[in-house]
């Protein structure tokens, strides 16, 4: 994505991606108790993108999309993430896919649809990418904001699911206070449509 990065670490790239995604139009519905929350929720949108590792040794973000295969009158807020990124600077097949990024208009956990999507992607991409001797697992991330400032919402955290470790996590905090993680549970898959969530 022009003007984004590149970044030397995935955590720097993630922290830079969060405000970019949340500041898109209708990306957050604000606090649930706030006035007009229901209207905000109804008009809210989801955006998604890949965070990928390039042969140049950097993390980049693909162009954001708000495309979905659903009708405008469908109640679901969905986003259709392409399987691959076309980055003309690098040969096809040379990119490593590490984070499927999107926003949740509210501080909502990752959905069954999110879990199904990332394991479906994992079966065509690598579950774990080797980056400079370090292992980076494929995962899905949903950023959220608790702010009622819809034009400049704060990045208050994100939910993450890492299929290869089974971990369902919630990250909160910030640069000043430091980031903290909660492991909310684990997901164990038996087959494509059959899995168990063990909550902590």
């Amino acid at each position: 994505m022009p003007g984004f990065g590149p970044f030397g670490t995935f955590s720097d790239a993630l922290m830079a991606a969060c405000p970019v995604i949340l500041s898109k139009p209708h990306a957050t519905a604000g606090r649930k108790g706030a006035q007009d929350f229901d209207v905000r929720w109804r008009v809210s949108k989801e955006y998604c993108a890949w965070l990928y590792y390039t042969p140049a040794g950097k993390y980049e973000m693909s162009m954001l999309t708000d495309q979905s295969a659903l009708d405008d009158l469908d109640r679901r807020k969905s986003c259709l993430l392409p399987e691959t990124v076309n980055d003309a600077r690098f040969p096809p097949g040379s990119l490593k896919y590490v984070f499927a990024l999107h926003n949740h208009p509210y501080d909502g956990h990752l959905s069954d649809g999110d879990l199904r999507m990332i394991v479906s992607m994992g079966r065509v991409h690598e579950w774990v990418t080797e980056v400079g001797g370090k292992k980076v697992p494929l995962s899905i991330v949903a950023f959220f904001s608790n702010s009622d400032d819809l034009e400049h919402p704060s990045c208050d955290g994100f939910f993450q699911y890492i299929p290869v470790t089974g971990e369902l996590k919630k990250w909160t905090g910030g640069v000043r206070s430091g980031w903290r993680q909660q492991v909310l549970g684990t997901v164990t898959w038996q087959d494509e449509t059959h899995y168990r969530i063990d909550e902590k």
């Binding site: 922290m15 969905s78 259709l80 999107h102 579950w127």
Partner: protein, 189 residues
């Protein structure tokens, strides 16, 4: 004849206006004490087996219809592929007078391989047809406890827990997804 055309044109315009507006909010009693079951924790019995006779009771059929009508737009010829009734997978769990329904977009129905993010919704419907709870993917689940009680630890944002990323196949994914070997049974909770 002219009048008929005029009425038809008005009806079409009105239909167009209706499609352009937001879906009418269906009254949902939102009983937060109702917790959704784990729809995917066990294999579902599929109605797709050829030569087998299935029976569907009227309450379940009505509940499916109520949920589909609430979630999906009017089924006219212009509706997007992913929002058609026939482009969804439906799961049903009965618990007493409650009929739990999970609706997920089926990517194969629209010629895709991967599901979209947040492309499902769960419903709790009374056998009399009332929607008691609706939870669209991405919405907060008010019936679930807050995460505040779960201990937190500092870490590099986005990283796996240090002791969770091991060498060898993951016990959380079928072996057949990770290599050409035979699937390994998942660990018990």
């Amino acid at each position: 004849m002219k009048r008929t055309h005029s009425i038809l044109a008005s009806a079409l315009v009105l239909t167009g206006c209706l499609r352009a507006s937001a879906p009418p909010p269906t009254k949902v009693e939102e009983d937060a004490s109702i917790a959704f079951p784990a729809f995917f924790s066990q294999p579902a019995v599929s109605l797709g087996t050829e030569g087998t006779v299935y029976e569907l009771d009227g309450d379940t059929l009505r509940a499916l219809t109520v949920a589909a009508r609430d979630l999906l737009p009017p089924q006219d010829p212009h509706v997007s592929c992913g929002s058609r009734w026939e482009s969804q997978q439906y799961r049903v769990v009965r618990q007493g007078d409650l009929i739990f329904i999970r609706i997920d977009e089926d990517p194969k129905a629209c010629g895709r391989t991967h599901p979209a993010l947040d492309s499902g919704a769960s419903y709790a419907i009374h056998r009399d047809g009332r929607i008691l709870r609706r939870l669209v993917d991405g919405q907060p689940d008010v019936a679930k406890p807050e995460d505040a009680g779960v201990p937190s630890t500092p870490g590099e944002p986005g990283s796996a827990s240090p002791d969770a990323l091991n060498d060898g196949p993951s016990p959380f994914l079928p072996r057949s997804w990770q290599d050409a070997g035979s699937p390994a049974p998942a660990p018990l909770p």
